[in-house]
């Protein structure tokens, strides 16, 4: 399995993580129309290329990460802690 560069733990086998899908924005529940809400729930871009995704490092630091990953080659070009923005420069 590919390695994901966790900003806190360094590169780890992807089996330590859980995939959380494409990073999306939750509409305002008070004003969202059914169509807007269900596009948020069910429709994603599903690119064959670079994708911005959420991964949860469940078997490591238990942080949610925002990862830019190529869905064909599995290269990762960026990974940061979703909440803190930490990129973990220097960790390897």
């Amino acid at each position: 399995m590919m390695l994901l560069p966790c900003p806190w733990c360094g590169p780890r086998n992807a089996t330590e993580f859980r995939f959380g899908g494409e990073a999306g924005r939750r509409p305002d529940p008070a004003s969202a129309s059914p169509e807007e809400w269900r596009r948020y729930l069910y429709f994603h871009t599903n690119p064959a290329g670079w994708s911005t995704e959420t991964w949860y490092h469940g078997a490591g630091c238990r942080r949610f990460l925002t990862v830019e990953r190529h869905t064909v080659t599995h290269e990762v070009r960026a990974a940061r802690d979703t909440a803190t923005g930490t990129t973990g420069e220097g960790i390897s």
Partner: protein, 944 residues
């Protein structure tokens, strides 16, 4: 040198063992006995099964798949399609690789009734009708006969057999993090490993054969000298770990490299999982068979096979030979045969347009027909017609080999290799041993540099593939795939029928799909497809090389069993007291202690205790916990006071019920949340998700404490009496006024400090759930049992709990709901607060309520109270269509009648509606929709 003279194959095989050879790997001082099809034979340590058989004069080692043609040795190595054996209870043993062991019971596969007399060989006569794809074209009508035809087809399976109870075997796994993995331990691999290690890299050198050395092992004196020198360098160089009889089976993302290691003491197979910085691929070359009529006869073999037999195993492969040679290795085979006393009747130099047209014989080679029309008596035909680069690991790294017509083979495309993969030696190109070693030395240094970030990049010299005639098939027929019995004609036929790409031809003929994985066959198949289509080999391209590079046992892949099991601290007590175990996800829990109905009655009339340790528990601290709870639960949490407990349900943003449980407020900023047992991990992640991705500004710290506490529910009218014997009223006052329903306290229980007690009512009785620091769980449990003896305390299991909760109409998430059940279909109407500003799932639940067409969760009672409709029984409308299903049902010991819960369409959900339930046995019973709560609907019993 003792050579036993046999010019013709005789009925009784005679020894073909030669005198001492300089490079031989057998230990003549000892003898190893084994049986071959029940007949006692012997060989020497170092022999493979096949070399021992060849030494004993056995030439027919197996029968082929479709036509049951006799087959002998072809490659005399791991790939040899003629040497697959059953060894004891192990099928498909690679007989030309597996070392002989004393007592082995070796038998040929795919023979009936015997190897020498095989009835299915009659298929050979029918060969013209069994052309490729014949099974697609026949057995079509009459349809009812196909199952019979299929049974017959299955009897042709070409393989060994497994037994239901094979001997014990031990497999394990190992993780490794070498800087460099070198796949292949020939001269290039050894040189690359030494160079990389000298440059400071940690190296794992992996060789598929039993010794390092590759083709040097069966070479001449100079080669053997070189072999000794390289082995000495490897042995002397620190930082190299050598794995022989081991093979790199694949290359996955980021150089995740599985290596299967065999022949380890006490271990059947070990899977080494290496995460290497750099992979050096140095497998050398595989000699390619030549396709011509009769090319599968015993006695037809590759030059490397003949040289292995002669030089490694001191076996004379035949008595009178014809050699077709297109390269120096073929010429060397001539010399080796002559030195072994084999009469070389003719050398056909393919570089001068000489060659084999056909081989003749029955049961073994008798004569060779040349392209210029000569017929030469011979029992051995050796071909040296070219090489295949085993590029599988490179393909898996993203490389796409290109066809080099001048060299007559596919070669790696260096531009398409990722930076962490390099290739060394023969797979790249040809050269003298010095040139191979020089190139590999540079590759090894570069690998170390890339792995360890050392000095500036060096240049890696290339190796040019040497010119070689394009020799694939003579055009006279013959077999392109000996595993699958696919002939050259089959390929041509497939192309003519429209299966004219290499992938379609492969699928239609099954060429390359056998146990040799196409290593011997693919390039010939491509060449035949190219020829048949009129396209070039380069245009035709090759098939995809998929993992695994070499077959690996399921045992090695599985390793030791590693499915985790979780037990509560009270498990020893449960086991001592006859609990029936229930597998509940990772947990093993008591289902009951013998009589679940009596356990229910004990709870309703006296007191029962249940081990509920698997309930998920999260300790939540911080000023914003209430905000979090408000967001995650469908109900309201802002006003929950300290010391209070509340039940809550979580939905996802699609409105589907996710989990439920109670949460108590232990202090101003301190809460304890409980979840379902199966949802513990999910909810923990769910909480973290919303905190980290949606509200990082909230101050909430989450600690999972599921197994930090042992949890016990004490339920029944006497539960207060029982618990009061283990608590101090000064510490925890259990009186109804001081500790009311849906309250939480902390204190000391059974002398154990820091317990959490909450008064809740899943069973509908007065009950307390206590959470005891886990290491005291067994102590607290035993004290409850001891102190409650006179109160009639009784342990109860999951089954009694299910009945108790069903009597109270409490739904179980994922039983009374499913993966699409939204909140209002789970009888949560009173709980869901649509007037909140936000909670997860709010919009969908608002719309669900507005539609009002959703199924409802209702109580259900059959009119005949003695009939319990099994769970999953369907509820039918009068037209027979499905209107719902029974989600839970039991005989209620308390009411003495059947009760249940059901998901049902809204038009039938009104209390009092009569519905029809279809039982699994086909009977219909009438039932009435009721309220959810079957026992004590007012809830008086739990509020005392």
């Amino acid at each position: 040198m003792s050579i036993l003279p046999t010019t013709r194959r005789t009925a009784t095989p005679t020894s073909q063992r030669l005198g001492h050879r300089a490079g031989e790997v057998i230990d003549r001082s000892r003898t190893v006995s084994f049986t071959w099809n029940g007949r006692p034979l012997s060989g020497h340590p170092g022999d493979t099964i096949a070399s021992a058989l060849a030494a004993a004069g056995e030439r027919v080692l197996s029968r082929s798949y479709k036509y049951h043609r006799p087959r002998g040795l072809l490659t005399a190595d791991y790939l040899d399609p003629g040497a697959f054996f059953q060894v004891g209870d192990e099928p498909n043993v690679r007989g030309a690789h597996r070392l002989l062991e004393a007592g082995m019971a070796v038998s040929s596969q795919n023979t009936w009734p015997s190897l020498r007399f095989d009835l299915k060989a009659a298929n050979g006569l029918a060969g013209r009708f069994l052309a490729t794809g014949f099974y697609y074209k026949t057995f079509i009508k009459p349809e009812p006969l196909w199952p019979l035809y299929e049974k017959v087809l299955r009897t042709f399976v070409h393989a060994g057999a497994i037994t239901p109870d094979p001997g014990a075997a031990y497999y394990d796994k190992r993780h490794a993090h070498p800087d460099v993995v070198v796949a292949g331990g020939g001269p290039a691999g050894m040189a690359a490993a030494v160079a990389a290690a000298r440059a400071g890299a940690s190296v794992m050198l992996v060789e598929e054969d039993h010794q390092l050395g590759g083709h040097l092992r069966w070479g001449d004196g100079a080669a053997l000298a070189r072999l000794r020198a390289l082995r000495a360098q490897v042995a002397a160089q620190p930082g190299i770990e050598v794995l022989t009889d081991a093979v790199v089976t694949g290359r996955f993302d980021d150089n995740w490299i599985p290596i299967v290691a065999r022949s380890l003491p006490g271990i059947t197979e070990r899977l080494v999982k290496a995460r290497a910085a750099v992979l050096v691929v140095a497998p050398g070359l595989i000699e390619r068979p030549y396709v011509f009529a009769g090319n599968d006869l015993p006695g037809v073999m590759l030059s490397t096979a003949a040289r292995r037999l002669v030089n490694l195993y001191a076996v004379r492969p035949g008595s009178r030979a014809v050699v077709m040679s297109a390269n120096p290795e073929g010429d060397a085979a001539v010399a080796d045969l002559e030195a072994a006393g084999v009469e070389v009747a003719a050398v056909l130099d393919a570089r001068r347009q000489q060659g084999v047209a056909r081989a003749h014989g029955r049961g073994g080679l008798r004569a060779v027909e040349t392209t210029d029309g000569r017929r030469i008596e011979a029992d051995l035909l050796v071909t040296a017609t070219g090489w295949t680069a085993p590029t599988s690991l490179l393909n898996q790294s993203g490389d796409r080999p290109v066809y080099d017509q001048a060299a007559a083979r596919f070669v790696p495309d260096p531009d398409r290799m990722p930076a962490n993969v390099l290739a060394a030696g023969g797979i790249v190109g040809d050269g003298t041993v010095d040139q191979l070693v020089e190139q590999a030395d540079a590759v090894g240094r570069e690998a170390a540099r890339r792995a360890t970030g050392g000095s500036a990049a060096g240049t890696v010299p290339g190796l040019r593939p040497a010119p070689h005639p394009e020799l694939f098939a003579a055009g006279t027929g013959g077999f392109v795939d000996l595993c699958e019995d696919v002939s050259a004609k089959d390929i041509t036929t497939a192309v003519a029928e429209g299966y004219d790409s290499v992938e379609l031809a492969k699928r239609y003929t099954t060429v390359t799909m056998g146990p040799t994985q196409g290593k011997l066959e693919t390039v010939n198949a491509v060449a035949l497809v190219a020829h048949a289509t009129g396209r070039s080999i380069a245009e035709t391209g090759t098939t995809t090389w998929r993992p695994v590079y070499a077959p690996v046992t399921l045992g090695a892949l599985a390793g030791r069993p590693r499915e985790p099991v979780r037990y509560s601290p009270m498990q020893p007590w449960h086991e001592r007291h006859g609990a029936t175990p229930l597998v509940a996800g990772q947990w093993i829990r008591p289902e009951h202690y013998g009589d679940p109905a009596a356990e229910v009655t004990a709870v309703r009339t006296a007191v029962g205790i249940i081990d509920v340790t698997p309930i998920g528990k999260l300790d939540l601290r911080g000023p914003d916990v209430a905000e979090l709870l408000n967001l995650l639960y469908v109900n309201k949490w802002s006003k929950l006071g300290v010391g209070r407990v509340r039940y809550g349900v979580m939905c996802a943003d699609d409105g589907v019920v996710l989990d439920d449980g109670v949460t108590g407020r232990l202090g101003e900023d301190h809460y304890l949340m409980s979840t379902t047992s199966s949802g513990a991990a999910t909810v923990w992640e769910w909480v973290e998700n919303w905190l980290q991705t949606a509200h990082p500004e909230w101050q909430v710290h989450v600690t999972p404490v599921t197994t930090a506490y042992a949890s016990i529910n004490i339920a029944g009218p006497r539960s207060r009496d029982l618990l009061s014997r283990l608590t101090d009223p000064e510490d925890v006052d259990l009186s109804a006024d001081a500790f009311g329903y849906m309250n939480v306290r902390t204190g000391t229980v059974a002398g154990v400090a820091d317990c959490v007690l909450w008064r809740i009512g899943f069973t509908g009785e007065l009950s307390y759930e206590i959470h005891v620091p886990a290491s005291y769980g067994l102590h607290a449990w035993e004290r409850l049992v001891a102190e409650g003896a006179d109160l009639g305390v009784r342990p109860f299991g999951v089954e009694a709990q299910r009945i108790l909760r069903l009597e109270k109409g409490h739904a179980i998430v994922a039983q009374d709901t499913d993966g699409l059940t939204q909140g209002f279909s789970a009888a949560l109407d009173g709980l869901i607060k649509l007037d909140k500003d936000d909670f997860v799932g709010l919009p969908e639940l608002r719309w669900q309520q507005g539609r009002d067409s959703h199924p409802r969760l209702v109580g259900l009672q059959p009119l005949d109270g003695t009939v319990v409709p099994p769970e999953a029984s369907q509820i039918l409308r009068t037209d027979g269509s499905i209107a719902g299903r029974v989600t839970s049902s039991r005989m209620s010991p308390t009411l003495g009648r059947a009760i249940g819960l059901a998901q049902i369409d809204p038009e039938l959900a009104e209390v009092g509606t009569r519905v029809t339930v279809r039982l699994p046995d086909g009977r219909d019973v009438a039932a009435e929709v009721t309220g959810l709560v079957h026992v004590d609907p007012e809830g008086e019993r739990q509020r005392v």
